[in-house]
């Protein structure tokens, strides 16, 4: 897991949930962070798309509801892109 990716993701989540970045860990999920509701979740997804230059399929938006799943998705997308 890249620290850079984690930090970028944590910053996005912190921005939209108004939780301090230091409290966001690899184990954080939409259930453990109070303000991470559906509206916040989509805002996070849209910012992830901008920051990582991705286009996230709408069908999996609901599945990216934890720091771990987001990191896995981003790293897989980066691997696929570099493999081209």
């Amino acid at each position: 897991m890249s620290n850079t990716n984690f930090n970028k993701i944590a910053k996005i989540i912190a921005k939209h949930t108004r939780v301090k970045e230091k409290f966001i860990t690899i184990e954080s999920t939409a259930e453990t962070i109070e303000r991470w509701d559906s509206l916040t979740h989509v805002k996070i997804i849209v910012d992830l798309e901008k920051d990582f230059d991705l286009q996230i399929n709408t069908s999996i938006i609901g599945e990216l509801n934890s720091v771990k799943s987001i990191i896995q998705y981003v790293e897989l997308a980066e691997k696929n892109l570099s493999g081209l």
Binding site: S38, L39, V42, T58, S59, I60
Partner: protein, 479 residues
């Protein structure tokens, strides 16, 4: 056929569960085929001809799913076409009369009588096939998942038809996604844990329906269906609405738990449908706890796509919050073809928008109890259009909430009979259970002497009560 029917209890279920596991010993495909045929029998028991609608939805959605999967150039057109084909029966049976009667009203208002009387009469007499809203949405979720690439593999007709038709969830959910069950369908197997959990869920669910929900019913029916203007005051309507909130929860969650329990006996794990919804500290949280499978369906297939599209284009406040309203209006209209359901859904949509815009910043400063009471109050207020027969009754009841006259309360006391009295007595116990006790997912489900005794007593009492009472339908069968 219902889970509380003696025919189901003592004949259908034992035969099907034994037959399923017998055939499964030789071939899972044969077992699934047996389950599908049994489910069609289950469905056609009370409405024989409507089984053809179910078969239509299953066959068309499976065929179109394959066309979508295999298509290179016309994927979107095939997808749109498939959704229209699947929605046709639902639109006809559920919404046709609502649509044409409202068109008629619009044209009549400009003195133009457009609708022939005989069409209106025929449309009004259309009977809703049981479960059609559930299995239609289930099939649509499959088609969307195939279209978006979430389901990539080819699926056998036997597996797919078992998924849609399996009787535990066929008529009132939970709404299961194909990916949640596809691996389970390949090799269903039962363990001692399945039996233990299935037993807990089925008996607790049955008790919730028979012992609590049905006991609350007489009082609720008196308040909402009785023609007693004299009792239209704050006290009676408030208590009546609380009783309805409890009846609806115990009835629907009870049914869901029975469905989950029965599925467990087949070796299938269904998703959770209720998570103590009245303990929610906000409306957002309420919709993560109430009828979860439908709520998440609307969130994933309606709300997320619309909102993501709007936010990507950096649109303004209206575009940011309108998906809440759209999603909840769809939620409302799914429940019924009536303006009162649209009012219920729209009311929740507006309340969610208000909560997101103004109340989220206050969250940490308000105590948990106040948040729960406030959320429950909003839910109660909006249950009035949900339960009322029409818009007119809704507004009459809302207006009556401003009437604090004690005379109506005294008049009501004269209407109390044994059934109404039992209903009222059931309210405090029900409130205690929903606010202070663990739900079935949180409770210890060990099977020891004490728990076995308790479950046996609950089962016997539920059966005896069930057999002694006139049948009270599951509330969600009307949707």
């Amino acid at each position: 056929m219902l889970f509380t029917d003696p025919v189901f209890f003592f004949l259908f279920f034992p035969i099907v569960i034994l037959g399923f596991h017998f055939f499964n010993f030789f071939s899972s495909n044969v077992a699934l085929l047996f389950l599908t045929i049994s489910s069609l029998i289950f469905y056609s028991w009370d409405q024989p001809l409507y089984v053809f609608i179910l078969v239509y939805v299953v066959v068309i959605s499976w065929i179109m799913g394959n066309f979508i999967r295999l298509s290179q150039n016309n994927k979107k057109k095939i997808f749109v076409c498939s959704i229209i084909l699947i929605l046709l029966p639902l639109i006809f049976y559920k919404y046709f009369y609502f649509i044409i009667s409202n068109i008629d009203i619009i044209f009549l208002s400009v003195s133009y009588d457009i609708m022939p009387e005989n069409i209106m009469v025929v449309a009004k007499s259309i009977i809703l096939p049981i479960g059609i809203s559930f299995y239609t949405f289930q099939s649509i979720s499959y088609l969307i998942d195939v279209y978006t690439g979430k389901i990539k593999e080819k699926n056998s007709f036997i597996n797919y038809s078992a998924y849609v038709t399996m009787f535990p969830q066929l008529v009132a959910g939970p709404i299961v996604r194909f990916k949640e069950i596809s691996k389970q369908l390949i090799s269903p197997h039962i363990t001692a844990d399945n039996i233990r959990i299935g037993t807990y869920f089925f008996i607790i669910g049955l008790s919730k329906k028979v012992l609590i929900a049905d006991t609350l019913a007489p009082f609720v029916d008196l308040i909402f269906d009785g023609e007693n203007d004299n009792i239209q005051n704050f006290y009676i309507i408030f208590i009546g609405t609380v009783a309805y909130a409890l009846q609806l929860y115990f009835d629907f969650s009870g049914y869901s738990e029975m469905a989950i329990g029965i599925a467990s006996y087949f070796g299938f794990k269904f998703p959770q449908n209720f998570n103590s919804p009245y303990k929610a500290k906000s409306l957002t949280e309420f919709w993560q706890r109430w009828h979860m499978t439908l709520s998440f369906w609307v969130r994933d297939y309606i709300y997320f796509p619309i909102l993501a599209n709007n936010l990507r284009r950096s649109m303004g406040t209206v575009s940011k919050y309108s998906p809440h309203l759209i999603a909840m209006l769809i939620f409302g209209i799914w429940h019924g073809a009536g303006w009162n359901f649209l009012l219920w859904g729209g009311g929740h949509g507006v309340a969610l928008i208000f909560e997101n815009m103004f109340l989220n910043n206050l969250k940490s400063t308000i105590s948990k109890i106040v948040k729960i009471i406030f959320t429950f109050s909003v839910v109660l207020l909006l249950y009035i259009p949900f339960r009322s027969s029409d818009i007119e009754s809704t507004f009459e009841m809302w207006l009556a909430l401003t009437n604090f006259d004690i005379e109506g309360l005294l008049y009501f006391l004269k209407l109390i009979n044994l059934n109404i009295a039992l209903s009222i007595l059931a309210i405090p116990l029900s409130l205690y259970l929903v606010f202070f006790r663990k739900n079935i997912y949180e409770m210890n489900k060990e099977l020891n002497f004490n728990s076995a005794l308790l479950l046996s007593v609950l089962l016997i009492i539920s059966i005896l009560v069930m057999l002694s009472r006139p049948y009270i339908p599951f509330l969600y069968f009307q949707f």
